[in-house]
């Protein structure tokens, strides 16, 4: 089990290989379809992003509302391929990790190699379990997007699996190959 704390460096990323179990702590940002579309719009116009993504991780999640007195509701990952068109330009800007579920396209796997970054899988449909690892949550951009607003989360020991590393390896392809009959 590898313990990792954000922000991360290229040195941290180089140590991670597909299949590694990681416990992630520190601050991470949330963003999914609608917020990514806005971030990409800003990059296209050459404008500043509302968050500093250098050395950071983006978690693809739209949580359920928190009950009174609670930090957050259920908060598991959403499917990542929908974010594929938006990911490479963010990686070019210094993003070091993405957390979601499901495989990534070739352009993302290539960008992970080029910019030294990783893609982690969290267990989809384990939103209540993951909520236990979230210690603080606040909206930092696009509150009008509701569940899709960009949040800053403080996480402690968030359980993740390295699915794509910075060497171009893909656990989805390797894992399935191993068990296919």
């Amino acid at each position: 089990m590898i313990k990792l704390t954000t922000p991360v460096t290229n040195n941290d990323i180089e140590k991670l290989k597909i299949g590694d179990n990681v416990l992630l702590s520190g601050l991470i940002y949330t963003s999914r379809d609608a917020a990514h579309k806005r971030l990409k719009g800003l990059l296209d116009k050459g404008e500043e992003l509302p968050i500093d993504i250098r050395g950071q991780m983006i978690y693809y999640v739209g949580p359920t509302p928190a009950r009174p007195g609670k930090i957050i509701g259920s908060a598991g990952p959403t499917t990542s391929y929908r974010i594929d068109p938006y990911a490479p330009p963010l990686l070019a800007k210094g993003l070091k990790g993405m957390i979601g579920k499901g495989p990534r396209g070739e352009e993302v796997i290539e960008a992970l190699k080029r910019y030294k970054a990783v893609y982690f899988v969290a267990v989809g449909g384990a939103g209540a379990l993951i909520a236990k690892c979230i210690k603080k949550a606040s909206i930092v951009a696009y509150p009008d997007l509701g569940p899709e607003a960009i949040r800053c989360l403080e996480v402690k020991n968030l359980p993740l699996i390295v699915a794509n590393d910075c060497y171009g390896q893909d656990l989805f392809k390797e894992g399935v190959k191993r068990y296919r009959k």
Partner: protein
């Protein structure tokens, strides 16, 4: 005529929305425990362990099993001797969804328009399928459907000459192309026959069956077993990272069809397979 007030219907739908999202069915829990035993991949085993832990936390703390609390699909079996009083039936159901999602702290995931994409803010409207049946009872099934698995579903208008082999190939190929996207271990609902829209509905209705229960027609029971074996031989495994357990079960539902047609629909359901029912 037996009278049922819309207020009662709203209350029941509200309760079912919350219960479906907090309490994973006993059949799914049992199937996941079996999957945990037979899974050979260490990563897969750990994933199933987390899924089971998650269901316990959700149950205890009344937290949604999954943050995608879904599009509410409602199946009504409305006895023809019932007189609905106090308002409109569909509005009563949508009011139940509205109240259930607000007071249950469930996520609003519905947009008003598929291309303009503005959130309705209360998770309405529901998709409602009504069947008029004999008797004076109203059966309400609430099945919140997440979109990660819904996006991996497909319908194909096959040709009668394609036969059972090509039907099997289509279903297995659909699961194969879905890979880790729909949150495996999945449940596969297959509709065969009917018309274009009937077939899709059969596939969705198939997902309401209890895990482990086979189609009463032995021909289709065998087809379900054959499909399950082929799907689990794909090696996709929990979350698509490789393993023995890709699907917990496969359910086939059929309907008569046209001499020129063979529609086949595959509706994929993630492991957070949620449906609760009540009879009024």
């Amino acid at each position: 005529m037996r009278k049922i007030d819309t207020q009662k219907i709203t209350e029941v739908v509200k309760r079912l929305c919350m219960e479906a999202n907090y309490y994973l069915g006993d059949d799914i829990v049992k199937a996941l425990k079996k999957a945990q035993r037979i899974e050979e991949s260490p990563i897969g085993k750990e994933i199933i362990k987390q899924i089971l832990e998650n269901s316990q936390i959700a149950r205890k703390e009344k937290l949604p099993i999954c943050q995608d609390t879904g599009f509410v699909v409602v199946f009504l079996e409305l006895g023809q001797k019932i007189n609905i009083t106090g308002g409109e039936l569909y509005e009563a159901i949508n009011e139940g969804v509205r109240q259930g999602y607000r007071s249950g702290f469930l996520r609003n995931s519905i947009v008003k328009d598929p291309l303009k994409r503005e959130n309705t803010g209360d998770n309405t409207p529901a998709v409602i399928h009504t069947e008029i049946v004999a008797g004076d009872k109203l059966k309400i099934t609430v099945a919140p459907k997440g979109c990660g698995s819904e996006n991996m579903s497909e319908i194909k208008m096959m040709s009668p000459s394609d036969g059972i082999c090509r039907v099997v190939d289509f279903v297995v190929d659909r699961v194969n192309r879905s890979g880790g996207n729909p949150c495996p271990p999945i449940i596969v609902g297959v509709g065969i026959g009917g018309t274009f829209e009937k077939c899709a509905q059969l596939a969705k209705q198939a997902l309401l069956r209890t895990v482990g229960i086979r189609n009463p027609d032995s021909f289709y029971a065998d087809l379900e077993k054959r499909l399950l074996e082929k799907i689990n031989n794909l090696g996709i495994g929990p979350m698509g990272l490789g393993g023995r357990v890709t699907a917990l079960d496969v359910f086939v539902e059929t309907y008569p069809c046209h001499i020129a047609g063979l529609p086949v629909a595959v509706n994929i359901q993630c492991h957070a397979a949620r449906h609760k029912e009540a009879v009024i």
